[in-house]
């Protein structure tokens, strides 16, 4: 017995015709509506369809100097931010969030990136020193196909957002060197927020690779604005499918797409920051 079927959607060629798969079905791939595709008794619905996905990594300084207004404000903003990021992902991207805190120790909020729909913020407490280098090493370890970036549906380079209010207390350069050898870091969208007077923008620019993607917040109001601007803008740009071509129509490679995205992030962040509302709030460092 020989039963051979060749499914070739373009020419609808069926080399034997012995199988009764309708060749036309291969071309009929644009459903009119989701409901048209759903079978009430579809046994395959037990394994859901996953959209293209993007992971946003938040690296958050929880050292002692963040205690008080900074940490309180950050907790509140992050709780408010979740629904806003959720909206970014509503179109066609599943956004996942991973939060790494660093003080004397580095700790993840969850053991894996969590879909934004399921994500709940755990309010953070500040204490200890600023082990930023250790955080960079831990991030590098987890940003791997064998670890936090193991989802088959992962389609975009991650967004990495660093927030800190002080100078690292460990050898951050050693950690950064390790992180810089990680391809996900290289192609990821990086942004950083310095909080208060002590945060060193030069260190943050070393992390992001450019001053355009570093901003500073000196008050609670600014902190809320900056976190939202950076997180939402980078999630939007990060989840954009970009196929670039230059004037002559030549295709550009992954590296070009990455630099275009990083540049666009820098431009948009600077534009949004310069347009932000007046701030009459009391600076963090007043009276500290």
């Amino acid at each position: 017995m020989s039963n051979e079927n060749m499914t070739e959607p373009v020419v609808n060629e069926n080399t034997s015709g012995l199988d009764d798969f309708e060749p036309a079905a291969a071309e009929n791939t644009a459903p009119a509506a989701a409901s048209a595709l759903d079978f009430d008794d579809d046994p395959l619905s037990a394994t859901g369809v996953s959209r293209k996905s993007l992971v946003i990594f938040f690296l958050i300084d929880t050292s002692g100097s963040m205690k008080g207004k900074k940490m309180g404000e950050l907790n509140t903003v992050m709780e408010e931010l979740i629904p806003e990021i959720r909206r970014v992902g509503e179109a066609d991207t599943e956004v996942k969030v991973a939060v790494l805190t660093f003080s004397t120790e580095v700790r993840w909020m969850y053991s894996t990136p969590i879909a934004i729909e399921d994500f709940e913020w755990a309010r953070l407490r500040a204490s200890g020193v600023t082990s930023m280098g250790a955080a960079f090493k831990e991030l590098s370890l987890r940003m791997s196909r064998n670890s936090y970036l193991n989802s088959p549906s992962l389609s975009f380079a991650p967004v990495i957002f660093l927030m800190t209010d002080g100078y690292p207390s460990d050898d951050y350069r050693e950690g950064l060197k390790e992180l810089q050898s990680n391809s996900w870091y290289k192609f990821g969208l990086k942004a950083a927020l310095g909080i208060g007077d002590e945060a060193n923008d030069d260190v943050l620019a070393e992390f992001t690779g450019s001053k355009d993607t570093v901003v500073h917040a000196y008050s609670g109001t600014q902190l809320a604005q900056m976190i939202k601007i950076i997180a939402v803008t980078s999630a939007q740009i990060g989840s954009k499918s970009m196929t670039l071509s230059d004037d002559s129509g030549h295709e550009l490679g992954e590296e070009d797409v990455f630099s275009a995205k990083q540049k666009l992030l820098g431009q948009q962040i600077q534009e949004l920051v310069s347009n932000k509302v007046e701030d009459n709030d009391v600076p963090f460092d007043t009276g500290w």
Binding site: N3, E4, M6, A25, T29, A46, T47, V49, N150
Partner: protein, 305 residues
Amino acid sequence: MFNGFSHSVKGASHEKTGLVCQDSSAYKVTDNYAVAVVADGHGSKKHFRSNMGSKFAVEATIEAIDTFFGDYDQFVSNFPKNHRMIIRNIQKQAIYNWNLKVNAHVEANPVTEEEKSKFTEEEFADIPQASYYGTTLIAGVAANDFTFGLQIGDGTLVALFDDGEAVMPMEYNEAAPANVTASMCNSNAASMFSGFYVENKKLIAMYASTDGLYTSFGSENDFLDYHTIITSQLSNLENFKAVIINNLTKRSHYGTEDDISLSCVYDTDMIADNMDLILSKVEENKKRAAERKAALLTKKIDNFE
């Protein structure tokens, strides 16, 4: 007795941009062996005929396997002893057949001015002819006493043997260098194939799929469980065909929007004999998936306030 099915759907992103489906899929069933094969044409600019390339890849591979099974008795007596070498030879034969088809196609259909118009003269001169047709290839072969597979480039093989577990059996990889897309069109394609061989387990079903299917899942566990569910439905393939076609279409539309191909071969007797086992695996997988989700959502950091 073997049976099978195969299907390809065009990705939603290709619908939007007016591109044709770059995937091809096929299966072949005989008394002695069955082959499931899929291929994913690269689709980018310089691979402007990769839809034909993927079609040639599935045809070339089935022809190569047919050739090796031609003298059945001799083949099955030699194969277990020399499986690595013979699989390598099948890979070489598939590449050879593919190149013959590509050459014949170019001869009958010279590159048009329109195809050339997207490149400068120098750029076009730099593209090897085989690259126009660049494609991946994944094939799984089930015989009465052994199972094997071969693969170049992305895509996945999943097999369910007599223990009912869905596994990805591809194991030995000759030399897949990092950051290089392995393709039938590479001049060193023969050195970029992966393969596997199993002789001590009875096969229930085996599936070859292009990466559009894999990337429509949130986790590898879900992807494997999906194949167990399909296997649980194969005792009534005729009724199940519409369901699987619609599911693949849904995955292509709401997942990563890529083309999706799935090809399957299975042993009807093994399906009948092991249906209770397969159904129990489906239930077990559901339970495990719920446990995984609950563990995932447990915070490592508690609220401090």
